[in-house]
């Protein structure tokens, strides 16, 4: 009885896990990130 109840709760949890969006799900297959810097020697100290 206990294990049957456990299975009953496990099913929705498994469904939610499978359907959860991944970190990249919001991007289409052509998406990418571009990181840009604008440095100059001697001035590369962090802010604040």
């Amino acid at each position: 009885m206990k294990s049957a109840l456990g299975s009953l709760f496990a099913l929705p949890a498994l469904f939610l896990l499978l359907m959860a969006p991944t970190a990249h799900a919001q991007w289409n297959s052509q998406a990418f990130a571009l990181y840009l810097s604008n440095d100059q020697q001697g001035e590369m100290e962090p802010c604040g």
């Binding site: 970190a23 990418f32 604008n38 020697q41 604040g48």
Partner: protein, 349 residues
């Protein structure tokens, strides 16, 4: 150099969470000004060599060449570029004799499902006075052909430019297949990208205190989102102007298609023809009622704050370099240390 280890840490965090990425710098990073003072050359070169090493460790994909990179002379940058893990790009810094590029003009990178072309362009005033054997060509002489060639092989083009903002705007207006133009304006603050035609012009705050991030939702239409009808009318007007100019040149006779007879006229004619082809392609795409979805982006500037964690490898490199620079300062030796990173062997020029 203190911000470098913060930057490396931030990059690693973003790369873990973002879609596939590219990391670029439009140039001007090696020195603090376009010329070096006599006794400060040794320490400045030691820092420059360490920067190149750090950029390699941080996995930069490409770096442009600007005046501040040439402060120690062209041969110095050529030597350093051979030790770099990333390409230094300039399409218009060429040999004076045959106009062959002295550095790589462009590079292509596969990023996820797309191929991205990256081109470098250097400010024509960047060469130190008295530099022999080299010249910097105007962008009009090199860029249209290069962009035309890369456009046929790439899904997206990025231009790393140290030209003036005015010239960068002119490039954006003339070459709509340059999709992103990263400029090195020294006085620039962080500003949201500006769209000129089909080009996004980006400014990242100077002095390495910020890191810019563009998350790009690129689309097969190769177009940034905007009012399609207004764009169509604008491009039709431009095409009419270009066709009028071409007819005027053709009316002059057969010389326009013969490089040998008048090279300058030939180059101008070719550039106009490329422009016409690009405009025609764009108008065809825009004319379709069911035009494909446009690309979009999100821009973000991350302050490299003092409380960000440090990347261990870069922090170690910075600390070793600072110690070496201190030694050089104490020695006050006028001798130069070409391309010397602490703890590494040097390569003769």
């Amino acid at each position: 150099m203190g911000g470098l280890s913060k930057k490396a840490y931030q990059l690693s965090q973003w790369r873990a969470a973002d879609p596939p990425s590219l990391t670029v710098d439009a140039g001007g990073l090696l020195f603090g000004s376009p010329s070096l003072a006599g006794t400060g050359k040794g320490p400045a070169k030691a820092i420059a060599a360490a920067l190149v090493k750090a950029y390699g460790i941080m996995g930069y994909d490409a770096v442009g060449i600007a005046a501040n990179d040439l402060a120690a002379g062209l041969p110095y940058l050529q030597t350093l570029s051979r030790q770099s893990r990333f390409p230094w790009l300039s399409a218009n810094l060429v040999a004076a004799s045959d106009h062959h590029p002295l550095f790589q003009a462009s590079v292509t990178r596969r990023v996820g499902a797309i191929t991205v072309g990256i081109i470098g362009l250097t400010d024509p005033a960047a060469l130190p006075a008295g530099t022999a054997g080299a010249t910097i060509l105007p962008w009009q002489e090199v860029l249209p052909d290069l962009v035309g060639d890369l456009s046929s092989r790439c899904d997206l083009l990025i231009l790393l430019s140290s030209l003036s903002p005015q010239e960068n705007r002119a490039i954006a207006s003339t070459l709509p297949t340059v999709h992103i133009l990263c400029q090195t304006e020294r006085g620039a603050a962080n500003t949201m990208p500006e769209q000129i035609g089909n080009t996004l012009i980006t400014n990242t705050g100077k002095q390495g205190k910020y890191l810019g991030r563009l998350c790009i939702d690129w689309r097969p239409s190769k177009r940034w989102g905007e009012d399609r009808q207004a764009r169509l009318e604008e491009q039709r007007r431009k095409l009419e102007q270009v066709e009028w100019q071409l007819k005027k040149l053709e009316a002059k006779g057969g010389d326009v298609t013969d490089r040998g007879k008048d090279p300058q006229l030939f180059t101008y004619y070719q550039s106009l023809s490329n422009n016409r082809r690009q405009l025609e392609n764009e108008i065809t795409i825009l004319s379709h009622q069911d035009a494909p979805p446009a690309a979009s982006y999100q821009a973000h500037f991350q302050p490299l704050a003092a409380n960000l964690p440090d990347d261990a490898a870069i922090a170690k490199l910075v600390s070793t370099t600072k110690a070496a620079v201190l030694r050089l300062d104490l020695e006050s030796s006028p001798q130069e240390t070409l391309g010397q990173t602490p703890g590494t062997a040097t390569t003769p020029p």
